[in-house]
Amino acid sequence: MTLTLRRILAKAGPFIGLILVIALFAIPSENRAYFLTYHNFKIIFTQTVIVSIGALGMTLIIVSGAIDLSVGSTVALTGVIAALLIQRGWGAVACTAASIGVGCLVGLLNGSAVAGLRMPSFIITLGMLGICRGMAKWLADNQTVNYDTSPINSWMTTADPRGHALPAGVWVAIALAAATALVLRKTVFGRHVFALGSNESAARLCGVPTVRLQIMVFALAGCFFGLAGVFQLSRLRLGDPTVAVGLELDIIAAVIIGGASLNGGSGTILGSIIGALIMSVLRNGSQQMGWPNYFQEIIIGVVIIVAVFLDRFRRGGKA
């Protein structure tokens, strides 16, 4: 009995969580009328884009058995760089490519230090958190980087705010999530990432190029973080070197709520996306209920702990 219950939880756990959270805000009648509208969900989806794209990269890293604390700083750095390039007249595509490139470079450095120097990823990326934040402030001369206009500004909005169309950013996030999920499940690279996170020694014994693979994981994740930086820019419409402080913690929370283990070797893209949605729904719903900010923070904190506790249960006590 418990075994089947566990298997159901294992497959659908985060999804059930999402439904519960939505139900929580749909029950009070004064709230329901607006909360359950398509328009509100459009807002929720849009608000989830940045965390989702970050969660794609973070899922790769956490499944591989590592962690990345430098995401918020990377997002700020790449956003500032994109803003500076817009000032210099670069096009939207070129700016995006540059941001992704910088994110990738940060990931390469993180990965090389983690795999090459055999240092704990927690330490390396904690250092990188400071380095990127400092670089962002330096490049931005410690102030916001303003620019006239750019097509990037429209990626997180739609021409008709009341219409049914979703912003480009939402579609990009959905497409990337689908692609990353496929890569993790169906490719040699993806299964090697699981092998690396599950047991690095066994992976090495089986001929998996573990050092190269760890670097690739960080670099690929860095590309996602760079792209998240572009969407952050699109939302703010200026380059802010102090933005996204603590974003990495939201992203890690999304991945963990989604069922990944910090020990590596487990986690799914769908779970992480649902984890990100759970947090967005909580924020959105709390705002509509008129709950103060600090109350939201407490709720999200509780949700993280409950999610990991349930995860332990469904794994049979071994988290």
Binding site: T187, V188, R191, A195, N199, A202, A203, R204, L205, S266
Partner: protein
């Protein structure tokens, strides 16, 4: 019922859901008796130990300790009543000192302040009782060898002056010399009147150290008696329900050309200038004590550790030695350390079997899950792996089945030169027999096997050629027919 028994069990039953793990087990252990509890994996030993140590409660039956009913409510209660257990895995806090570890949970303290003098005396006495009075009490436990750490654990268990001490596979990671020392410790316990329940897969050891035995099979005690009246063969026959004669298959083998040539391979201090060659259709055994360099030799050949000098030629090819390169050359490696290096415990059986060649199950880096599953299902069937399906995490399987999965990886690859490091360590006799049969079949099919084993009968039973290592050197290589067990042992310990 024997009134003199220190510990007596009568009709103990235990079920988990529909599975009956123990069907009416009776057992008598006298004071000062070392009692072997033997049986294959899954025979119910672990369940019985858990009931004895208070981790599980029996469904039915009675247990008595010194004539009084014994019903522990948990491991702490069992210890209080006088039954202590030493687990197979070392449970020490490596950063704490020997003294702190021994006294953990029972510190000599006044108002929370630990009395250094008193705790040193208590820890020292516990160690002295085991013949280890010289142990430095203030060094961190993690700096000691596994064998010494085990002594620390035993000292900790003895602190409560138990009447019954249960030892679960205490020698599984000990060298022969350390095992001897452990036996001396057990001898001292016997003199002090402590009853020891000794669980081990190593039947020779049980015969050396135990007075009486009980054999468990399928949750029942199928035999018991005095150890001096029982031969290994009869014990194995009781455990498996079949005679021992066909444990080691003598397959028809044709020795072909040399496929792996090792010359002056070194990685000091553990490996010094080893040279030998192995041929198609040959099973080459490596004997020696633990720490003699056998595993180092195997790992260096496979490229897991880098050689400082010397060469390895696979099919005449002296290229780079990395695990990746070796798999490409058709060399496979089975680690002695199944859990830490051999398998990805939280990953499915399927991925564990196919990890070395995932690219072969599809094109351009994509994997066909269907083909991958088909291949792993076939091996799970061929090797009789007991599992729900190949999607099951390999960590949920029993030791013997895990080892079959690890071996299936080499067969699926397929490796033509198989380096097997302690392939039968810690698995039950039934699985052992199956693995011997597979090894025999592989050699008959013209494959090459390098077998590292600490179990001499296994080497003598299976191998065509046996080399002995001692202190990092390969000191002798001879055909099997020219070796006897005492000679192998003599070379291993250094009596040339």
């Amino acid at each position: 019922m024997n009134p003199a028994a220190r510990l007596s069990l009568d009709g103990v039953r235990k079920s988990f859901g529909a599975t009956q793990a123990l069907k009416s087990v009776s057992l008598q252990v006298a004071a000062g008796e070392v009692h072997a509890l033997i049986g294959e994996n899954g025979a119910g030993k672990s369940t019985l130990l858990k009931i004895l140590s208070g981790a599980h409660e029996a469904d039915a039956g009675t247990m008595r300790l010194d004539g009084r009913p014994y019903r522990p409510s948990g491991p702490a209660d069992a210890r209080r009543l006088g039954v202590a257990m030493i687990y197979q895995e070392i449970n020490l806090a490596p950063h704490l000192s020997v003294r702190e570890n021994i006294l953990l949970g029972t510190e000599s303290a006044a108002l929370g302040w630990i009395s250094a003098a008193r705790s040193r005396r208590r820890a020292g006495e516990a160690l002295a009782g085991l013949g280890y009075a010289h142990f430095p009490l203030e060094r961190p436990a993690g700096e000691f060898s596994i064998a010494e750490q085990q002594v620390i654990e035993i000292a900790r268990a003895l602190l409560i002056r138990p009447q019954v001490l249960i030892m679960d596979e205490p020698t599984s990671s000990l060298t022969r010399a350390d095992t001897e020392r452990l036996f001396e410790v057990i001898g001292r316990l016997r003199e002090q009147g402590v009853s020891v329940i000794y669980v081990s897969h190593f039947l020779e050891e049980c015969r050396t150290v135990c007075d009486r035995y009980t054999v468990l099979k399928d949750g029942e005690a199928v035999g018991s008696g005095a150890m001096k009246d029982a031969g290994i063969d009869s014990l194995v026959a009781q455990m498996t329900g079949r005679p021992v004669s066909d444990l080691y298959p003598r397959t028809e083998r044709r020795r072909g050309s040399a496929v792996l040539e090792v010359s002056s391979l070194s990685r000091p201090p553990r490996l010094k200038a080893a040279s030998f060659s192995v041929h198609e259709g040959e099973i080459f055994g490596l004997a020696g004590l633990i720490g003699a360099g056998r595993t180092d030799l195997a790992r260096t050949i496979f490229g897991l550790d880098a050689a400082t000098s010397g060469t390895v030629a696979v099919h005449g090819n002296r290229g780079a030695a990395t695990p990746r390169q070796r798999w490409r050359q058709g060399v496979g490696f089975l680690s002695e350390n199944r859990k830490e290096e051999g398998l990805m415990l939280n990953q499915p059986i399927r991925d564990n079997i196919t990890l070395t060649k995932l690219g072969a199950f599809g094109r351009m880096g994509w994997i066909s899950r269907r083909r991958q599953t088909a291949a792993s299902v076939r091996w799970a069937g061929d090797l009789a792996v007991k599992c729900r399906d190949t999607d099951q995490a390999v960590g949920e399987l029993s030791g013997g089945n895990q080892q079959k999965v690890a071996l299936a990886r080499l067969l699926e690859h397929p490796a033509n030169i198989l380096i097997l490091d302690e392939p039968t360590r810690g698995i039950d006799v039934g699985s052992k027999a199956q693995i011997y049969e597979i090894i025999g079949r592989l050699a008959a099919a013209g494959k090459t096997v390098i077998l590292v084993s600490s179990y001499l009968p296994e080497l003598l039973g299976l191998c065509d050629t046996i080399g002995v290592m001692r202190r990092g050197e390969l000191v002798a290589v001879r055909p099997r027919g020219e070796w006897t067990e005492p000679e192998l042992l003599g070379f291993a310990v250094g009596k040339d």
